[in-house]
């Protein structure tokens, strides 16, 4: 079966072919003989070209895999070629502004800007407290505050838009 890994704007081809006791996995044109043993859900013993690896694989969302090796975890975005096409169709829309998002669930401690205010890239716009820690979130680009979607004292979901910005100056 063929897959594609998305990394650094590149599409890296991957092919998995089952064989006796494992697979031949070709990544970016390089073939690897893999002896694969499934141990527990997510836990594999892999012998890759003679080297031994104990690997934890976890998929928190479709097409995303967290792969834990001894020296750390990698995030691998791996799609079937059909998934790649579907994804291309579903994205592409979306406004030109940018917004500051809650990185995780928490509570708004302070809103530092007002609607209509100009902000600079890197400027703190809102303070969110989560797990007893206050975090000042910053604008990712220059802009004008179009909308405040959170109020002080309010709880917010992870990923929620908190401050919506319009791009600054011409064409915005």
């Amino acid at each position: 079966m063929r897959y594609v890994i998305l990394r650094d704007e590149r599409e890296i081809p991957v092919e998995v072919v089952p064989r006796e006791g494992g697979y031949r996995v070709t990544v970016d044109g390089v073939p690897h003989e893999v002896d694969s043993e499934f141990l527990l859900p997510g836990l594999y013993s892999l012998l890759v070209d003679g080297k031994s690896w104990e690997v934890n694989v976890y998929s928190p969302e479709p097409d995303v895999y967290h792969v834990h090796l001894y020296d750390g975890a990698r995030r691998v975005e791996l799609l079937s070629p059909i998934g790649l096409v579907l994804r291309a169709q579903s994205t592409g829309a979306g406004g030109r502004g940018s917004s500051v998002r809650a990185p995780m669930p928490g509570r708004v401690v302070k809103v530092l800007v007002e609607v209509g205010q100009e902000v600079r890239k890197g400027q703190g716009v809102i303070v969110v407290e989560a797990m007893k820690m206050q975090n000042e979130l910053q604008a990712l680009a220059d802009g004008v505050v179009r909308e405040l979607r959170a109020r002080e004292g309010e709880g917010v979901e992870g990923g929620a838009d908190l401050v919506v910005l319009d791009p600054l100056a011409e064409g915005g």
Binding site: M1, Y3, I5, R7, I12, V14, V16, P18, Y23, V25, V27, V30, H32, V34, S36, F38, L40, P41, G42, L43, Y44, L46, V48, K51, W53, V55, N56, V57, Y58, S59, P60, P62, Y65, H66, V67, H68, L69, Y70, D71, G72, A73, R74, V76, L78, S80, P103, M104, P105, G106, V109, K110, E129, A130, M131, K132, M133, Q134, N135
Partner: protein
């Protein structure tokens, strides 16, 4: 004689205390919030009582609910752990009034050390060296500016009512003072219900070295050697070790004697820690005394052979200390790494979420104090520190090697953790050379220096095999089991 102890805490420290109690044949009583019904400490304890909703203000910080659980269980003592009510003198007092032994210092000692400015005054009078700074909380911004000018920049703003890095700001120059003062006060108010802050001269490139003390209330007060806790991020320790590579036997003895003097000055009883700020020239200054068990107490246990929690319980039972100062022997080297659910690439933001698998490290020299298991959730309501890895070796390089191995074996799947970041620290040449300071992380592993793991062909291969197996063989799943089906769903 203590027969049943209620642990007014959660997480790894509750588990740690329950284990000591079991070793001593003492019954344990856990308390838990609604978010913690499935937590490890609840399952390990002999008894467990609910104390309220998930937010700690409505559960683990509610003295009333905890005292009620103690009454219902028939406990005769309370261990507060660290954090929560551990340094709350009023809670300690109410335990006493309810006929419960509080496994910690007397309320007056907590009070004396708890208010940091007052503690500095007491220490200065007792002949304990303190960092130049204000001995009173600052009234307002103008007084902060005036005092900072008098002491000289850089200065450090600190919350008068607390510690743990909350309400703390380094101020390099006058321009930064206004913002820093406002943020420190507001964070102090949020964290401790008291927004007052004070300031100290900032010692540049300092080390954080602390001394463990043990006092039995019968006139015996010992020091048990230092811990170096210079590796910090956001003013919170993440790697600690004992002994310190910087401390000589002579310095240790001087520091120990001063720590004992500090403890005696407030009538201290039980286990406590005197924290020192140490300049690169070896001058040391009293910062604060933590009137409780410390997170990093295991490294002292590993090199002294003592069990500090058992010592605490014996002291609270009224027993005299069994060891004398001259019996203290430090053996080998110990390090601790704190595993946090957080993102080192994104300002160490906490990353709560579901845990789907845990592989614990094992083997010679490895100890893990944790409350994680192969399921469950890291809640947004509590501290994101979820486990401690402690490594022991016959000397510092050996301990670092054991730590490296243990961190490699330790895998927590499902959430983001600082494991790889810790590995970068304990294998860094400056760390291995013992060149530690509290700005180690911004200096050597700051933004731009720290890199997430490089892509690895084996990771790509494993992801592809997992995708393939779930697509092709997913139907032939193992017998239905909640965790397995959750996995299958996740791997779809």
């Amino acid at each position: 004689m203590i027969r049943k102890v209620l642990i007014a805490n959660r997480g790894e420290i509750a588990v740690r205390i329950i284990r000591a109690l079991r070793d001593m044949g003492i019954a344990s009583v856990a308390v838990f919030s609604e978010a913690d019904r499935k937590a490890r400490h609840v399952r390990l304890a002999d008894e467990a009582y609910p104390i309220g909703p998930a937010p700690s203000s409505q559960s683990y910080l509610r003295a009333e609910a905890i005292l009620e659980a103690a009454r219902r269980s028939g406990a005769d003592a309370v261990h507060p752990g660290y954090g929560f009510l551990s340094e709350n003198a009023d809670f300690a007092r109410r335990c006493g009034e309810a006929g419960l032994a509080f496994i910690g210092p007397p309320p007056a000692a907590i009070e004396a050390m708890g208010e940091k400015t007052r503690a500095r005054q007491i220490m200065a009078r007792a002949g304990v060296p303190v960092v130049p700074g204000t001995l009173e909380p600052l009234e307002d911004l103008p007084s902060a500016l005036r005092e900072a000018r008098r002491i000289g920049y850089p200065v450090m703003l600190k919350a008068a009512a607390g510690g743990g890095g909350k309400g703390m700001r380094l101020v390099q120059s006058e321009e930064e003072m206004e913002g820093a003062f406002r943020n420190a006060s507001s964070e102090a108010l949020q964290s401790f219900g008291d927004g007052s802050v004070y300031l100290e001269k900032a010692v540049l490139r300092p080390r954080h070295i602390e001394m463990q003390v043990l006092a039995d209330g019968k006139g015996n007060c010992l020091w048990l050697g230092e811990r170096e806790c210079s590796i910090q991020r956001r003013h919170q320790k993440i790697v600690e070790e004992a002994p310190s590579p910087f401390v000589t036997p002579d310095m240790r003895a001087r520091m120990g004697e001063i720590a004992v003097r500090a403890a005696r000055a407030v009538g201290y009883v039980n286990a406590g820690t005197v924290e020192f700020l140490v300049s690169p020239e070896g001058e040391f200054y009293f910062m604060e005394m933590n009137t409780r068990l410390q997170v990093e107490h295991p490294v002292t246990e590993m090199v002294t052979g003592l069990d500090l929690v058992k010592e605490q319980i014996r002291i609270a039972s009224g027993e005299p200390l069994r060891i004398r100062q001259e019996d203290l022997r430090l053996r080998g080297w110990a390090m601790e790494c704190r595993i946090y659910a957080e993102d080192p690439e994104n300002g160490f933001l906490p990353c709560p979420g579901p845990i789907v698998a845990v592989r614990l490290p094992e083997g010679p020299g490895v100890r893990v104090d944790s409350a994680v298991y192969g399921s469950g959730e890291v809640s947004i309501h509590y501290d994101p520190m979820i486990a401690k890895v402690i490594a022991w070796g016959e000397d510092r390089p050996a301990a670092a090697a054991v730590m490296n191995r243990a961190l490699q074996e330790f895998q927590i799947v499902g959430i983001r953790t600082n494991r790889h970041f810790l590995l970068q620290i304990v294998s860094h040449p400056e760390f291995l050379a013992g060149n530690l300071s509290t700005d180690f992380i911004p200096r050597f592993l700051g933004p731009g220096e720290y890199r997430r793991p490089e892509p690895h062909p084996v990771a790509d291969i494993a992801a592809a095999i997992a995708a393939y197996e779930s697509a092709v063989r997913g139907q032939a799943a193992p017998p239905a089991q909640r965790s397995v089906s959750a996995w299958r769903r996740a791997l779809r």
